[in-house]
Symmetry: C2
Subunit: 472 residues, 2 copies
């Protein structure tokens, strides 16, 4: 019986800020691969032991990112939308209920969408072997043979062997250690806790009934009342929000007597810091990892990620320098944990850079702010072929559009026409308008907005093919 992958896309990945932001977190980024981490995760589960239709559990606001990523690799999936963040236990419960609806006997493999496991064959083999122990009702976590005394991971101490495979009782789970403790853990045979699990969906639900009935009840109701919306299954908000927010480790794995750890020694990373990205990336002779446009004079063991402008390093070692169009981060690689603290500070100060990138992704394409002032704002708008913006109007701004490529269909009040590159059009304040791309090439246009208020919330949607609220 094929294993159903349940892929959790719940993280916000603030440790990889400013590249990763709430508006496009880590799982949607690619690190030295043509595929994003979530695409790699999906592709990792396409061998014959898996049901080819994985189940994703993701935040409402990321649904178009995930749909586009899956479309681009030709993977069909059930996508469960969480109306609120309720941590991993609720998310896994929802995934299990979805799997049971497909097959009451289903075995599920629970994976984080933002981890990296390069050796797919070793991964598939381990999952396949562990299935035998899942069949007997164990809740299996994958324990990774450590390659160094990492302080960024939790650890597991394995106990007595369960079967003639690499499957053991769990002696104990422990939190992220300090350096010295981590070294002792390595000597004592502890394993990294990968946060990836394998079990029969019903075994998990049975344990939920005993150990976390409140979560189970809330998620069951949210799942029963869920509504289909395009390719998505939208969990019911009120019920889901009643679920306590708690991790699966605390709620189940550390409590259940059915916990088991399956030891593996393939390369695994949670890509949880810029140092981790440096570790898994190809390096120059001087140990530098360079992604994008950068120049290094007399520097070693650095990681530079530069989008849209030149980043230069002179006479400096062991740093991470991340340049994006609106924010730059410079950090000692070893200090990466503090990046999360920085992002929290920025959030507390109401800085938009904390969560949102300048380039904003929408189901119809994307836009990026190029310039702004009190009285105007300049954006580059890209509409992908087939993309249609909502029929809308603004109360406080007018817009000028200059087409630089593609052939947009422009509706302004009763006038509908298709423009050529180098044509421009004016959208007066209050005019009902729509932009659509029925061509085969992307439409690129420069929009100049003028007015007394230029916030994204000055938009009245009259008709939207994507059924969006005003803020998504």
């Amino acid at each position: 019986m094929p294993i159903i992958p349940v892929i959790l896309s719940g993280g916000s990945g603030t440790r990889l800020w400013p590249l990763s932001r709430d508006s496009k977190p880590k799982q949607f980024l690619n690190f030295g691969s043509e595929h994003s981490l979530i695409q790699e995760t999906a592709l990792r589960c396409q061998s014959e032991i898996f049901d080819p239709r994985p189940i994703f559990v993701c935040a409402e606001s990321h649904r178009f990112l995930i749909a586009e990523d899956l479309l681009n690799i030709g993977v069909s999936a059930d996508i469960l939308l969480e109306p609120a963040r309720r941590n991993s236990c609720a998310a896994i419960t929802a995934g299990c209920l979805c799997a049971i609806a497909r097959n009451p006997e289903a075995i599920v493999l629970v994976l984080a969408a933002d981890h990296q496991i390069p050796d797919i064959a070793a991964f598939s083999k381990a999952v396949s072997q562990a299935t035998k122990d899942a069949d007997t009702g164990h809740l299996i976590t994958f324990g990774i043979q450590p390659t160094k005394p990492a302080t960024g991971y939790g650890y597991i101490l394995p106990g007595g062997q369960i079967s003639n495979h690499d499957c053991y009782k769990v002696e104990k789970f422990v939190e992220k250690p300090d350096q010295k403790t981590a070294e002792k853990y390595i000597q004592d045979g502890y394993l990294w806790n990968s946060g990836n699990f394998l079990f029969k969906a019903q075994s998990f639900i049975d344990e939920m009934m005993i150990l976390a009935p409140e979560i189970l009840k809330a998620v069951q109701e949210a799942h029963q009342k869920a509504e289909s919306d395009l390719d998505f299954l939208r969990l019911e908000k009120d019920a889901f929000e009643r679920s306590p927010s708690i991790s699966v480790d605390y709620a189940i794995m550390e409590q259940t007597k059915k916990a088991a750890v399956f030891t593996v020694d393939y390369q695994w990373s949670d890509v949880g810091s810029w140092e981790a990205v440096w570790e898994v990336s190809n390096k120059s002779d001087a140990g530098n990892v360079v992604i994008g446009d950068a120049e290094i004079v007399d520097g070693r063991n650095n990681i530079v990620h530069s989008v849209g402008k030149l980043t230069t390093l002179v006479g400096i070692d062991d740093v991470a320098v991340i340049t994006t169009s609106d924010a730059v981060l410079v950090t000692s690689k070893s200090q990466a944990e503090n990046v999360k603290k920085l992002v929290t500070n920025l959030q507390d100060n109401g800085r938009v850079e904390a969560n949102e990138a300048l380039k904003i992704f929408r189901p119809w394409g994307n836009y990026e702010r190029l310039d702004m002032d009190d009285q105007y704002q300049v954006k580059r708008i890209v509409v992908t072929p087939g993309g249609v913006l909502s029929l809308q109007k603004h109360r406080l701004r007018s817009e000028h559009w200059v087409v630089v490529s593609g052939n947009p269909e422009v509706t302004i009040d009763d006038d509908v026409r298709t423009l050529e590159p180098n044509q421009s059009v004016y959208v007066p304040l209050g005019a009902v308008h729509r932009l659509a791309n029925h061509g085969k090439e992307p439409v690129v246009l420069i929009e100049v907005q003028t007015g007394d208020y230029l916030g994204e919330d000055d938009i009245i949607r009259l008709e939207d093919v994507y059924n969006r609220n005003s803020d998504s």
Copy 2:
């Protein structure tokens, strides 16, 4: 008799890249002051001992920058334009000839435009005292009492006392030392060589006749044939280019028997590295210097200069991080000398960022590229009140202008009109056009260029109030 300041604005300041670039070098930037370094230098020479009309020697391409900086502080000057870079000896010679033309007995104070001396009273007092030794024909260099064994400066060993002031014979000049040698210099009573001089202009010219007659002859001819152009005196190109390119230290000061050193102990810096900027700037309790928009978590003794976007530092000490709209520099403060090497590398690779900033200054205002691609380019154009662009046309591009503030007068072929904010206009390929601001507020407009070639050199100037070549 008042002293005539001769202020040399010849440096390109690559050690402060990417803030300082050939298109707007260090002397035109401000560091913790409302005034640029060149403005501070001019204002330093406005006490009663000075002729209120200084002489500036500067590169042709910087003439509008210097004129605007002087206009803004209400200082009138003679501005000599160098048609080529021929190092400090030729520049000082030109300045002396200009001073002699004003008064054959003139005493000149030669200052670099890009040094910092905060204590104006101490400075004026020293200059005033040193005048007595200049009167007797000495070529005086100012030697600064060192405050640390700096490796970025040349040193002077003073010899026997010349007068009852702090004026001494020069025992020897020495080049920038390594750390150990610098420490020995300090013990042995060496002084920093400030590169600032005081002498009778004629005393200097007399020594030129003996020690550097070829330079003198070339510069004399360039000065005789110089042409007035608006507020500038343009040295004649062919003659000036015949001058050997050599520093005043090599050509004169290290050769002449009339050299003297006047010792001073006021605070002086050549602001020659990001470490030097850090040293002269106000610091937080943690020793951080922050200019612009930055956030530091757990970092000490850093300097951050951030223009137009957020720059963040996490868990890192003793670095300089400079963020501009098109380039970022991260360097260990102690390694600042290598920044020059980086800029040379960038120049060798043909990188426009090496010399030009995105924001380009013109006599009529400035412009900045916001976005570009093969087929289009977006610029923000600011025309200052009274600014007039040349009457021009383009062979390969058309332009869309959207006015966001001010009231530009727009000429397109035979049509002349004044636009309001939120109006737009199209400039077809080949149309003769001009933009002018006859209002009292700056004009800001967004220009979208489309075409097969978008280089700055696709411009045919038909009429230009500023008498420019196509490349300035």
